[in-house]
Symmetry: C2
Subunit: 228 residues, 2 copies
């Protein structure tokens, strides 16, 4: 088991990254998320349309809260450079990615009311609660603690994926998360938490760790829910 | 004097806009802001470089809080469309406008430490306090109540301006706020407050009115401070 404090973790590592410690602390959920059956089926194109449709509707509902949390992060980020990087990614989420959702919903026959305000699965509600609470009750580090794993898990599963399924809504969903610009952004986002996390007092580090771990656990449940 | 409630104001007007009522309630400060001597000197190119430099350094400090408040608005906005429009304007603030500040600071010989974290004038601190408190203590409508006048005043003074001063840091500053895309954005932003403001209960409408009026008053003091 990974050291229970970052100081102990860093004691015998030259370039210890705070986010590596957090990721290790979130095992075995981390591995379950990035190697989830949903991801495997998505990559080889065998995922059932009904499963992917259910997933995508819930994910779009969740993206509203995710975009909101990135917005609050712009509000909390201590430098204009950081506000700029976060804003650029917000632009991707609200533009290219939003466009992907609309085209995919068209292809999968999702009616308007299910796009705008679908009935949310329990895990979607829980995930939104976690994000909004982290951002509103915490400061920049707490918001990063949910945003970093949410994006990093997507980069990780997509990086490990070789296949290119025929359906555009499957292949583009993989492509959006294999993109070099996305990879650079996730690395930058991790760097922010690497930089500010270790400077927190022990109580807030624990809070950050708890938020990170809960996010990873909810990612697993979110994939599970697509089959229910 | 304008009616003291929006309902009374709207009673004898067919298409009463909530933001028109707020603007009228903020007189005479509104007119003082949009016809301020600083604006007149800026337009005819007679503003002293030392005055403009002082203004620009304080404004850049303020822009950090402004960008932050727009970020929180992305977090609070109820629809993905609204989040998208706010994100697009955030992109302008952190990209083109940020670039303008850097080039102008170069031309005016402003050193790095005065750009990154200048000694703030009292009015700058007060303005940042107002924006951050509105966004963190309130919801979408309260955040709009400070963002709408902050942007609308800039559109108003720039629209009434005919001159094109020689110095790029003067002419571009006017041009950024005469831009048709900026005009369309301010109209959209007003439309958000027009739409959600009247649905608030009387206590929150009063809060929105107070925030709006204080923003306008601080704009006047902010221009004043450039001469002190």
């Amino acid at each position: 088991m990974t050291a229970d404090t970052f100081d102990r973790y860093a004691a015998d590592r030259a370039d210890a990254r705070f986010t590596d410690w957090l990721r290790e602390r979130s095992e075995p959920d981390w591995t379950e998320a990035v190697e989830h059956g949903f991801v495997a089926e998505l990559a080889d194109g065998t995922v059932d349309d009904a499963v992917f449709r259910r997933y995508l509707v819930q994910d779009y509902a969740f993206v509203g809260a995710l975009v909101g949390a990135f917005g609050h992060a712009v509000g909390q980020a201590p430098t204009m450079d950081a506000k700029g990087s976060l804003t650029e990614f917000l632009g991707t989420l609200t533009d290219e990615e939003n466009d992907y959702f609309e085209r995919s919903f068209d292809a999968l026959g999702v009616p308007d009311d299910e796009r705008a305000d679908p009935e949310r699965a329990d895990v979607t509600e829980a995930f939104e609660d976690l994000l909004v609470r982290a951002a509103l009750q915490g400061d920049y580090e707490e918001t990063l603690a949910v945003l970093v794993p949410a994006e990093w898990i997507y980069l990780s599963w997509a990086s490990g994926t070789g296949g290119t399924p025929d359906e555009f809504y499957l292949s583009e969903w993989i492509g959006l998360h294999q993109d070099p610009a996305f990879e650079a952004f996730v690395d930058w986002l991790r760097g922010e938490l690497d930089r500010y996390g270790p400077a927190l007092d022990e109580r807030r580090r624990r809070r950050v760790e708890r938020l990170f771990r809960r996010t990873v656990a909810l990612e697993v449940q979110f994939f599970d829910a697509a089959y229910e």
